[in-house]
């Protein structure tokens, strides 16, 4: 592959991609009515031009040669983030610096030419290959688009790449349907590699594959990374896969990045309650393990109107007590459980003693908190569920620092020496300590954790 290596102007270990305060909102209106849609811009019919805030204020770096794992549940915005980073979607605001150039500011032909250096692999092996195109031309298409080689050269390179990704070069003339899922993902790999990119975004590349095939493809991807000096942004919802392939891991929740650290650090010393919950939730293929503990309750809130402050706070098991109260931990967690139960209407009874027995058996808060709980119980007794919910939410959940301030901290890692970013107010003290220590050392650490707005 002589003469095809791209200009390697970014040295190993330096940021290849820098994402700064990236936001992507979607219009939530339009296209709602199928059939004979006659018109959509009529004023006196009520419409809510609400935005889905799919990605909000995300910053991170990806260093040359590394694999950054991006993990989160469906709907958390990880795929949107990937597409925005690649400029397949136009960011609402923020910047994406790729090799120093801000992709957010370019478009059209210059952007198209940039695509030679960054490629993408998709989740669905069924739909990511044009069913009417043979495998050979599929692999050649990006080369053709960037004017690489002549026809014969492209064919030769396509065949070479097919072999590299573990396919038979003889398959050049086959249509995608003749391949299994794993093989199609290999074709996808070959296509992405054809233009010799520096950076590949892998959007759940193995989640549609069977376990045994998954391992084959993951191994191939790692081999190719070493051989072609690739940088991966690897998106997955499966933490096992992420743990296997990543160097560093970022966790997303509801459009925001909640934690970013080196792999070992993140898995062994997770700081954010969401990361902890996620790790607890993964089933372990071992019947003797303890199984999952402390499961999250409730559903992910809507990204149209996300919670203020920390977006995880509505489900956080360790929400910080508002400063106005002085409850014990047990009392506070009872209050929290009660507030959420009322919000979800999780019980039927309106009987005070019964409710008290169920939610405040071991610890009943006194003082102001006790008065508020009494008042709420009064509302419930009067079947005024809405009032009870409002009272509890306003006095307790919305008064927490988690609701009033957006968290962003950096703590000292326990494993390795990378930076550890976490968006949880509970790490505030640790972050201040880490910051102080860093200042004391007065050593400029390399910019790795992204644009961290450490505390005030």
């Amino acid at each position: 592959m002589s003469g095809l290596t791209g200009s390697d102007d970014v040295p190993e270990g330096e940021p290849l991609l820098e994402v700064r305060n990236l936001c992507k909102y979607f219009d939530n209106d339009g296209g709602l009515f199928g059939g004979m849609t006659l018109d959509s811009e009529f004023p006196f019919v009520e419409r809510n031009p609400s935005n889905v805030r799919a990605v909000e204020d995300v910053s991170f770096d990806i260093k040359k040669g590394e694999t950054l794992g991006l993990v989160g549940e469906s709907g958390c915005g990880k795929s949107t983030l990937a597409r925005t980073v690649l400029r397949l979607l136009k960011p609402t605001s923020g910047s994406v610096y790729f090799k120093g150039e801000d992709l957010a500011t370019i478009s059209g032909e210059p952007l198209r030419q940039k695509r030679q250096d960054m490629q993408m692999i998709f989740q669905d092996p069924q739909s990511s290959l044009d069913p009417r195109m043979k495998v050979g031309p599929i692999v050649e298409e990006p080369m053709q688009a960037h004017g690489m080689l002549d026809d014969e050269g492209r064919e030769a390179r396509a065949k070479e790449l097919l072999e590299k990704v573990g396919l038979d070069p003889q398959h050049y003339n086959r249509y995608p349907h003749a391949f299994s899922g794993g093989q199609r993902q290999r074709v996808n790999l070959a296509r992405a590699l054809s233009v010799n990119p520096d950076f590949i975004v892998c959007d759940e590349p193995v989640s549609a594959l069977d376990v045994s095939i998954q391992a084959q493809v993951l191994n191939t991807m790692q081999e190719l990374q070493d051989e072609f000096d690739l940088t991966y942004l690897f998106i997955a919802h499966d933490l096992s896969v992420i743990r296997h392939i990543s160097d560093r891991v970022a966790v997303m929740y509801l459009g925001q990045m909640v934690e970013l650290a080196d792999k070992e650090e993140l898995f062994e010393n997770p700081q954010h309650p969401y990361t902890q919950a996620l790790l607890d939730a993964i089933p372990v293929p071992d019947p003797r393990s303890d199984g999952r503990t402390a499961l999250l309750t409730g559903d992910v809130p809507s990204p149209i109107d996300p919670p203020s402050g920390c977006r995880f706070r509505t489900r956080c098991p360790v929400l910080i007590q508002p400063e106005a109260f002085e409850m014990t931990d047990a009392e506070w967690s009872n209050v929290l459980a009660f507030q959420r139960a009322v919000k979800r209407r999780a019980f039927e009874t309106t009987d005070r003693t019964e409710i008290r027995r169920r939610y405040f058996d071991d610890a009943t808060p006194g003082g102001d908190a006790g008065t508020l709980i009494d008042e709420a119980l009064g509302h419930i007794a009067a079947e005024e569920w809405g009032d009870a919910e409002r009272l509890l939410t306003e006095s307790f959940a919305d008064a927490s620092v988690c609701a009033t301030e957006e968290p962003a901290y950096e703590v000292a890692p326990e494993y390795g020496d990378g930076r550890h970013y976490t968006a949880c107010h509970r790490t505030r003290d640790a972050a201040i300590a880490a910051d102080a220590a860093a200042k004391l050392n007065a050593v400029e650490t390399p910019h790795a954790g992204g644009d961290v707005r450490a505390d005030d």
Partner: protein, 372 residues
């Protein structure tokens, strides 16, 4: 041990297509006892879903159950005998279609499907659908059934069930819909619930919630489960006993602990080795070579021999039936692999053969050319 609740003997289900006969389920046998969760695990194409629809005799055309016995609480769900003309025909005691519908489906054996998004009817309210099934299977009046439905929705953790009763499926999230499907199964108070990959489409945290709920409710109602999955972690978490399927056959069966700690069949072992783990960093994965061949033209002998690292010539020639390999007094642990002495087919003397797993061209190639 007491009598099994459900007993499946040599069940065969085939699909008659233009291109030939697909032997989707090819002679599987297993039992389910009262109050236990039995796992049925395997990759895509192993025939798990066909096996479960066969249990309720719900195989769609062009598929057909062609052989075997299914017995449930002494009733014959499926059974053949040789007719006067030498052709097999259903036995007299085999339940009629109407009896299946009225006595078995829903009432005795309920099923939870994989896809919560498609399984609920989009044009009826969630509560209405739940109520209908309760009415049919528990002989309750409409009002009683509605009460029961709301109670069940609360039980599976649907918030504000009274008002959500009247909502439509599209107003529920995927996890919520799966809870509704579980509520349907439990509300009919069957003795056996078949759960066909019920958590596959869900996020891990939701999966966790649902598995926890199922284990709680299973204890409460003492229902037996057949839990179909491709995920060894889920198996490890909730199953008591496990059957591993490969290409239409059960190739290993054991208690869950033995399956992980005393693995017998090379396929099971390979499956376990190929998984990345969440609790520790695995640097090198050891994938199973190749892909599962098509059930339309399975390999001769042991069906796994084309991908097996331990394959020898005898594997290509002898088709192993699963045999119990456990010591006397130990719980049953059967596997279908001739490398164990119990099979006595001369594995040790046989020459190793070259397969995808033992050498040859690089991994993952050409299922179409795998068997020449």
């Amino acid at each position: 041990m007491s009598e099994p609740l459900l007993s499946v003997e040599n069940l065969k289900t085939q699909f008659f297509t233009e291109d030939g006969t697909v032997r989707a389920v090819d002679g599987i046998s297993f039992d389910v006892y009262e109050g236990e969760i039995v796992g049925l695990v395997g990759e895509s194409g192993a025939g798990k879903s066909v096996a479960t629809s066969s249990l309720l005799r719900l195989v769609d055309s062009p598929g057909e159950i062609v052989g075997g016995e299914i017995t449930f609480k002494g009733e014959t769900i499926f059974g053949l005998e040789e007719g006067a003309d030498g052709e097999p025909r259903p036995r007299d005691e085999m339940l009629s279609e109407e009896e299946m519908r009225e006595q078995i489906r829903g009432r005795e054996i309920a099923i939870i499907f994989q896809d919560p998004m498609e399984s609920l009817n989009p044009v009826f309210t969630v509560g209405g659908q739940l109520r209908e099934f309760i009415e049919i299977n528990r002989d309750l009046s409409a009002d009683e059934a509605k009460e029961e439905a709301i109670e069940m929705l609360r039980e599976v953790g649907i918030p504000a069930p009274e008002s959500r009763y009247d909502e439509y499926p599209h107003q529920f999230s995927g996890g919520m819909r799966q809870r509704v499907l579980i509520a349907m199964a439990l509300a009919c108070q069957p003795d056996l619930i078949i759960a066909d990959e019920p958590t596959t489409a869900l996020d891990v945290t939701v999966e966790g919630q649902i598995l926890e709920m199922v284990t709680d409710l299973q204890e409460k109602y003492d229902t037996s489960f057949i839990w179909v999955t491709h995920d060894m972690s889920v198996v490890a978490e909730i199953c008591d006993r496990v059957n591993v399927m490969y290409l239409g056959e059960i190739i290993e069966h054991s208690e869950v602990d033995d399956l992980f700690y005393d693995t017998k069949h090379p396929y099971t072992q390979a499956l376990l080795d190929s998984m990345p783990r969440p609790d520790e960093t695995v640097h090198e994965l050891d994938p199973i070579k190749g892909v599962m061949p098509e059930a339309i033209n399975p390999p001769s002998g042991c069906r796994f021999h084309s991908r097996c690292p331990d394959a020898r010539e005898v594997c290509r020639e002898v088709h192993p039936e699963a045999r119990n390999l456990a010591a006397d007094g130990e719980p049953k642990h059967s596997a279908a692999c001739v490398k164990y002495d119990a099979f006595e087919v001369g594995y040790d003397e046989s020459r190793p053969i070259e397969t995808e797993a033992t050498g040859g061209f690089s991994a993952g190639l050409t299922e179409t050319e795998a068997e020449e």
